[in-house]
Amino acid sequence: MRGAASTLRHELIGLSGVLERNANLVKRYAWWELAFFVWSLANTLTIVFIAKGIHAAGGKLDVDRATTTLLIGAVIWSYLGVLFEILTETVAWERWEGTIEYTFMAPLARPIHLIGMGLFAVVYGVIRTAVLFAVIAGFFSLHLGGANFVAALIVLAVASVSFIGIGMMTAVLPLISPEKGMQMGFIAQGILLVISGVYYSVSVLPQWMQWLSTISPATYALRGIRHAILDGYDVGAVWGDIWPLIVIGVVAIPLGLWIFGVGERHAKRHGKLKRSG
């Protein structure tokens, strides 16, 4: 019992080290963070203006609703981007700095290491996404009085468990391919969102893509968040989207850890667990 408590303490101290390091990096790269935020802002605006553009071209649509629908898709795209990027940096950044050997030879359980990265990614991603959402909503003077933001946040939090699991799967790619592994994370992000109805209803997708959308956590996240913000649904009303997220999360985390473990063993066997160059 005492041994287990001591091990748990050791692991939690390690996890705090991961969180602290990431916070230090954000602090040290603060101006770059601001630059990337401006890029996210510009990117999101290009999507969200589409609704007004269609209206101006004579299309008939509820501009406010369509704008909010697009905005939710764009901020979730941005959130997933942050999440996958931070998780992929578990390997990629350490490899680039050359610290990877010191980190991977340290006595910290890999699941704790990855969960630490995931936790930071969620906290940082949620704050960044909330600010992005608020700025864009203000830009378009969207009326969101009836929105249930608490329910939307709960859906996002539950979905994040699955996203972390998928992020763990992509995090190992830079170990296998140091040159192209990181970009593969962006491919996974794109595929996940295109089948999940990022800017449209999944019902417009071909049948085989609709089938794929049922196993994508982003489908339920986008639908649940849209219901909560556009229709004011509470947690009970979006439960139909929450429970599949719980099921996918229960599968995704162990699967992500297993895949990362397989990748790490491959890297150790082939001498790829080392600094770049």
């Binding site: 602290e20 050359g98 050997e101 006595p107 790829k272 080392k274």
Partner: protein, 271 residues
């Protein structure tokens, strides 16, 4: 007590040939370590000499749990390096040729990150980091500066501090003074001596600096093309090969000049 036991340790890497066989490049298995056997007693300092590509770094990385072996065995204080990795990781730390830090972060932030993985709390690191930095001769007032603003010698001192902060009982030094100016080199060597004397540490020093090996180590081994040719006190080594210097002994043992590295470099086993 035996600190390190290595028996017939073997590691190979797959390398693609420049020549193509059909559409694909042929692959060949290159031995990085070939049936290496040795032991290190607790408190001993052993130096392994070898040229670039001789297998020194592969040996260090195997003992650091960063590589999986292809044959043989390795134990650190009785723990199997390949099946009991967590136990080994708690006992080992290393200093390598590249200091390797998050460059924008300060030395204090980098050390704090590394120490947490070994179970040191924030309060403990805040207390110990200035003390350990002072011991390695690092001006503590500069501990908040980004690593990228420090000289190579300063960075290597922080690297030593990182290894010592976790109180390792086995310290793996992989060319720790390569690329340092003469003064920094001497300071690092003095510090290694001090740690060895005061820390009850066992040291495995991999280097191609003959003088460093002779000055620091109880025994000196020669690793050539993945094979450990000998491991004995420097004086016995010179006597055995009827040499005046370690360089001559190296030549007699390997049949090659110490500076001649082309052949090893061509083996392509720098992993």
């Amino acid at each position: 007590m035996t600190a390190v036991e290595v028996h017939n340790l073997r590691k190979e890497f797959l390398r693609r040939d420049a020549e193509r066989s059909g559409l694909r490049r042929r692959r060949r298995r290159v031995p990085a370590l070939d049936d290496v056997t040795f032991t290190i007693e607790r408190g001993e300092c052993v130096a392994i000499l070898g040229q670039n590509g001789s297998g020194k770094s592969t040996l260090v990385r195997l003992l650091s749990t960063l590589l999986l072996h292809d044959g043989g065995s390795a134990r650190v204080f009785g723990h199997d390096v390949f099946t009991d990795q967590r136990a080994v990781q708690r006992l080992v730390n290393r200093v390598s040729v590249e200091a390797s830090f998050f460059k924008k972060m300060s030395s204090e932030e980098n050390l704090s990150y590394a120490a947490r993985f070994y179970g040191m709390t924030g309060a403990e690191t805040r207390e110990r980091i200035p003390v350990i930095l002072e011991r390695v001769g690092f001006p503590t007032r500069r501990r908040h500066e980004a690593m990228e603003h420090l000289s190579r010698g300063m960075q290597q001192k922080v690297s030593l501090a990182r290894a010592l902060l976790t109180s390792p009982v086995l310290l793996l030094l992989d060319e720790p003074t390569t690329g340092l100016d003469p003064r920094s080199k001497l300071e690092v060597q003095d510090f290694i001596r001090e740690v060895w004397a005061s820390h009850d540490a066992t040291i495995l020093l991999c280097t191609h600096d003959l003088a460093e090996a002779e000055a620091l180590a109880d025994r000196v081994g020669i690793l050539d093309r993945g094979r450990l040719l000998c491991l004995e006190p420097a004086e016995e080594l010179k006597e055995r090969f009827r040499s005046q210097t370690l360089e001559e002994a190296f030549f007699a043992a390997t049949g090659r000049e110490f500076e001649h590295e082309d052949e090893d470099a061509e083996r392509g086993v720098f992993a």
